[in-house]
Each structure stands twice: as C-alpha cells, then as structure tokens.
C-alpha cells in the first residue's frame, strides 16, 4: 500500500510535482505515464526516500517515508531511473551485498538470491562485472536487486527500457506474476506496456494528475479507442499553453 498525499516538490521556481495525491492498494499494478519532465521520476524519488518532499507525505504500508524511513524502505523494492549498480561488482557480488543490506543471512539469503536471479534471468552473466554488461542485462540486475527481498511494494522506474522484445515480454511476465499480493508502480513511456500489465493508469503532466482510470477506460475516451491518442490529448494541451505563455 502506498499513500501519497498532497506531494509537492519545487526545483527553484519550477514545480516538478505539485499537490499530487494518490493511493495504490495491494493487487494493483499502476502504470505511471507522462511526457519527459512531467514529474514521474521525481515522484518516485520522493516515494522511496531519496528526495525529501517540500510538502505532503508518503506512507509505505503505513510507515511515513520521512519520519520512519528505514521501516518504509524495508518494505520497498526500488529500481531507480537508469538502473544504477556498482559497475566493478559482478551480479552475484552485487546481489550478495543487497542481501546483506536487507538483513538476509545464510539459507534465507541464498534462497532469495536464487529466486531473484531466476526471476530476472541473470544466470548467464552472474560472474561478469556489471559495467561490461549490455543495457538490457544491467536493467535486469537492477530488477533482481529490487525484488530480492520479496517486498510488499515495488516501485520500478522504466523497468523495460533498453530491453529487446523478448526480454520485455519476460519482464512483463515477471511483474504480472508478482502482482497478486503486491503493490506495484511502474513508470513507462510504452503505452502498450500499460495495456499489457497495468490494472490502472495514471497520466501526469507538469506535476499534476490529468487522468486516473483503467487502461481500457482511458482508451475508450478517444475516438479511435487508442491509449496513445488519449495520452497526446491530455498532455499536449498543457504544453501548447506553456508555449503560448512563453
């Protein structure tokens, strides 16, 4: 469960996220959509405790991310934008480090690591330094790191970016498989991905929610029944206005 209330973040005069409220329940896979710079990543950074909000609160399974950070982060798996990882480590060492930090020991650590490796299909590259891996494999290392401790809440920033169609299919299968009892948020630019795995789609533009519905409902709003049409309608109008104002 993620409860976001009146979340606001400004960078100088620009409001990256303004007064955003959103509750995501277990069993939901929420697709977080929006043009570049709409505030998707900033919202995720605040929800996971990397950035402090200017206003508003985020609670992860009831734990406030600002005042009860560690408890909230223990329940959270997070794939940051660009899937950062320590390049000099191999996936095996890296996941071992994550298991240690997640307080998993002995058999529990082994089981969790093996499950994450299988889930993200990393077996082939386990002992190569992460910096030598392809973009797709790096993304999967980040994904394995996020799901290692079987968290209640998953926040994935562009989990399929840089993957080939087969890998995308596999990662979507993985997310769908975990969806039953978890709260999952994914940000993406791929509208077909939202239709494929999300139970709910939220479109944000200039830090505000402009649409919140199931992918099918959203698609039905356009004349041709396509999600990308709705996306364009909802997010270009504001851009046009900004252009006129400037």
């Amino acid at each position: 469960m993620i409860e976001i209330q009146n979340l606001t973040k400004r960078f100088g005069p620009v409001a990256a996220v303004s007064d955003l409220s959103l509750t995501i329940r277990p069993g939901e896979v929420l697709g977080f959509l929006g043009p570049n710079g709409a505030g998707k990543s900033t919202t995720m950074k605040m929800a996971t405790g990397y950035l402090a909000p200017d206003q508003g609160t985020v609670r992860i399974c009831g734990h406030d991310i600002v005042s009860d950070t560690i408890a909230a982060q223990q329940r959270l798996g997070y794939l940051p934008e660009g899937a950062p990882a320590y390049g000099e480590m191999t996936p095996r060492e890296f996941l071992h480090f994550i298991a240690g930090v997640r307080n998993l020991k002995g058999a529990a650590a082994r089981t969790a690591t093996e499950r994450a490796i299988a889930g993200a299909e990393l077996k082939a590259v386990l002992d190569q330094p992460i910096e030598t891996l392809s973009k797709g494999f790096r993304r999967r290392v980040g994904l394995a790191q996020a799901i290692l401790h079987d968290p209640e809440v998953l926040v994935l920033d562009e989990p399929t970016d840089g993957l080939d169609p087969n890998q995308k299919h596999a990662v979507r299968g993985l997310i769908r498989g975990m969806a039953k009892d978890k709260t999952i948020v994914i940000s993406t630019h791929l509208l077909e991905e939202v239709e494929a795995i999300c139970t709910r789609a939220v479109i944000i533009d200039q830090g505000r929610i402009v649409a919140d519905a199931t992918p099918a409902e959203l698609a039905a709003r356009s004349a041709n029944g396509r999600l990308d049409e709705v996306f364009r309608q909802l997010t270009t109008r504001d851009t046009a206005m900004t252009g006129a104002a400037a």
């Binding site: 405790g49 223990q74 320590y86 060492e93 930090v101």
Partner: protein, 244 residues
C-alpha cells in the same frame, strides 16, 4: 550495527576492484622510502629511530589521503548509485561510518606495509620500539582525521577532482594551523584565546606530541573528535542534499 558490515565490505573491496589499491600502495611506500632515505638522510643521521620517517607522514598524507577519500561519495553521485544506496534500508550513520571505516582500514593497510623500515631500523640498531608503536598509532589517527575531512568534502560534490583539491586545501590548513602563516592572519584582529584555539587545531602539533613517544589522551581525543565532527557534517550534507 549489522548493516555497517556490508557497507564496509563493499567499500573496502571496491578499492581492490581497480588498480587504485595497487597504485596507491606502491606510490605510498615508494614516497615514504624516498622521503626518509634521500630527503631525510636516514643513514647519515646515524640515529636508530624513525622520527625522520614519521616526520614526513603529515606531508605525504596531505596529498595521498584526499586521493583516497575523494571517490567515497562523489563517485556514488556521479554514477547514480547514490540513489540506490540511500533508498536501501540502511541508517545514514551506518552508511557514513561504514564508508569511512573502509577507507581508514585501507589507509591502515598501507601504513602496515611500511613495516620493512621498522625491520631495517631494528637491524641497524636498537630503537625504542615503544616510541615507534606510539608513532604508528598517531600516524593512523592522523590519517583518519584527514580522511574524515576528505569524506565530508566528497559528499558535497559529484566531481572527484574538485573533491580532491578542496580536501587538500582544507587538510593543509589543519596541518599548519599552528604555523605563523595561518596564525598571523588571525593575530591582527582576533582575541588571543581564538588564536590559541586555531593553533590547537594543528595536526602537526598533536602528531609530533604523539611521535615523541607519549600517547596523551588529549591528542587522541583531539583526533577522534575531529573525525566525529567531520563525519557528522558528512551526514548533514548528505541529508541536506535530499531536499534537492
């Protein structure tokens, strides 16, 4: 406390993942040897002690320790792993301390590898090994103090070169704060107690007190409180930058 260990281990190992560890240790040992034997005229002095050797430590640390510390936080910021590190459920103090201790342990390792010079001096004569042990401890404490300054500066930037240069300057000021160069700048306007306070921050003064063979609790407390102060500042900087 248990989360400090994985942070420490990862950081310590990362020194050895690149040629950094090797290059650092080789240059450290080579410079120590060169300073002691050529600049310090170790043989000509005809005295079996290591005061010449330890006398060069502050000056060598001045450049080498910031090189060791500059990557601690700046690299995490640059490569984006900072976001990963700060969203893992590790208390911030454990991250800060774990990283610092890893760098300190590495510096300690380099220091231990200077043992051949201790063997040499024992072969040549009969030095006071108590003084030498005290000096090693003092040198290690001083390296920790330099490192805490470097770690703190590194946490404020994503540029390792900037981190290095600012650390060197900050370390230099702490090294010579008892020297006329610094004190004269204060003497003209500051009240005497402040001038004395500034001069008491001198690493050279505290270090040479220890290398004379007496480990005075006040000198030990000085180095530890300085480390504590800069690591606390390090924590504040990391926390502050969360607010964007």
């Amino acid at each position: 406390m248990s989360l400090l260990w994985p942070v420490f281990k990862r950081e310590f190992k990362s020194y050895f993942a690149t040629p950094l560890a090797f290059v650092f240790i080789v240059i450290f040992l080579f410079a120590m040897g060169a300073f002691t034997f050529y600049l310090g005229h170790f043989y000509d002095n005809g005295v079996a002690d290591l005061s010449v050797f330890f006398g060069y430590h502050p000056w060598l640390y001045l450049f080498l320790v910031p090189a060791l510390a500059m990557r601690l936080w700046a690299e995490e910021r640059r490569s984006g792993t900072m976001e990963l590190l700060l969203t893992l459920p590790i208390p911030l103090w454990a991250t800060v301390l774990g990283k610092f201790l890893a760098a300190w342990a590495f510096a300690g390792l380099a220091l231990i590898l200077t043992f051949p010079i201790w063997i040499t001096v024992n072969y040549l004569g009969s030095p006071d090994n108590g003084v030498i042990l005290a000096s090693y401890i003092g040198s290690f404490l001083m390296a920790g103090a330099y490192l805490s300054i470097g770690a703190c500066v590194s946490s404020a930037t994503s540029n390792q070169v900037i981190a290095f240069i600012i650390s060197v300057v900050a370390c230099f000021l702490f090294t010579i704060s008892g020297a006329p160069l610094v004190l004269d700048a204060f003497r003209s306007w500051a009240p005497l107690p402040l001038v004395e306070a500034v001069s008491s921050f001198s690493f050279l003064m505290h270090f040479s007190a220890i290398t004379s063979g007496v480990i005075d609790l006040r000198d030990v407390i000085f180095f530890f409180s300085l480390i504590g102060l800069f690591l606390y500042a390090n924590m504040l900087i990391v926390d502050l930058r969360k607010s964007g």
